[in-house]
Amino acid sequence: MTVDRLGFIDFARGLVMMLMAWDHVSGFWNQVHGGLEGIYAYRNPSLDFPLFMSRFITHFCAPTFIFLTGVSLALSVKKRLSRGDSQRDISLHIIKRGLVLLALAILLEAPAFDLPYLYFGVISCIGACLIIFSVYRRLPVMAILAVSLIIILNHQWLDLGFISMDAAWGHYLRRLIHEPGFTLSPYFSLYPIIPWLGVMGLGWVFGSYLHGIGKDRISKLKLPLVATGAASFALFFVVRYFNGYGNLVRRWSDDILDWLYLSKYPPDIAFLLWTLGGTCLFLALGLVIEDRGWSGRGLAGVVQTFGRVPLFFYLTHLWLYRLRLPGVPAPFYLDLPQTLGLWAVGLVVLWLLCSRYERLKRRYPRFLQYI
């Protein structure tokens, strides 16, 4: 069964990209923006509730983005197979896409954050995962599900102590595989491959499932998605309550902000329960929008436009919101309402740019296939 482009996936992706834009505009212009959860064992006490939450709500971005990359990859591979493309060609295409992402991370992503070119961020991580997936995808779906769950539930015990950090290559390897950090320049990493490969694998499994069912059955996934999201949130509170297994960052007190201070770098079980639970709800909301016939119209249409050209949005929004050359520090800082205003104005500009780019991509699909 082949399914066309799924609007609810574009909606969920577009929604988190808007949140991601908020995170980055805030990072560029708001001096007291939070971050590095997990690399820091304690939350920054100087962040008050609004500032903390303004960062916390953006946690949905990376997991949803990477999960949906897995979904889209599965749907795209099945589509190519059904039109007769060879496995070799498909693998080569995925590898090229991964390499393009790694190159874009070096050329455009790292300088946007004023980080060294070896910085391993979300784009590099997805690129590396895609290259792995060019081979890994040949495993049965159930095997990928098992490996993904084993990774997510067990990666916290991964001990890379056998790789010496004395040599730069060992240091970088550990940063890339599982131990994000900023201790030795230029070997910086925030998105280590192993845990995120598990998240992308779950996306692959969900995408394979979507491919196997018809559009009618997909529209009936609302309730299961809401139930999964709610169960995920409930389990999150259980994991945080016991404050042991599943928490790479301890809950140091009963303060609500301590409950919500989670390890994103690397993502622990509590973090993934919360964020992927949110992903389920975003997908369900996308299905509701499709059911009501709002898809492609009004605000939902804007969100879906963002979700259809995610890489273009990502690269453009970084430089649009940064508004200065690499290496140039912010000339001044904005407060929270001003940052919100800049975010909203930027979204309008991004919508105009993404709409035009989408038309361009339709006209030159081959030339722009990797972006």
Binding site: Y40, N44, S46, A146, G161, G244, S253
Partner: protein, 189 residues
Amino acid sequence: MVFTLVGAVTLGNLWLHIGGPPLGYSRYNGFGFSIDYSQRMTMREGDLGGYGPPTDSAGTVSWSRQDKELEQFGVFWVKPESLSTNMDMTPAGALDQLFGYIGISGTMIGERGEMETMTKDGHEVVYQTFTVEESGISIPGMIGAWYCEASGEYLMLYAVHVPDIYHPEIISQWVETIWLGHLATLTCP
């Protein structure tokens, strides 16, 4: 089948790690006590003055982690016979003598708070806040001491914390919480 496999691997890992240090932590065992520390921290051992190696009679082990945030904690141990005889042979006396050693080693101690007491595994712990003076900034810390009968030594646990080293004027509100967290994992036989 999938869930059986995933469950078996995860439960197996949980079983292997029962009683062990929490995830991402290692356990230090030696000199009459054990304590958990984050694998992201760097460990140093030495004598009380910081010049030589630790001995069974006295010494210190500390762990630190610094990027934008600075956290350091450590344990001092000292046998009563290594304490100056003109000091009180009490945890409070051991603390006083320790601050003397710290002063000799060049660390500037600012204010010391009131001594308070609490109970830890049946031992009475004397504790107080203090500050370390560094480049015009007062870095808050917390320290506590008690006598461990089983190992026959005074144990002193301290912690200091700077949330943002680029803005050292931001005073950590977490020293006590951090200290209590480490105290919970510190055991003497």
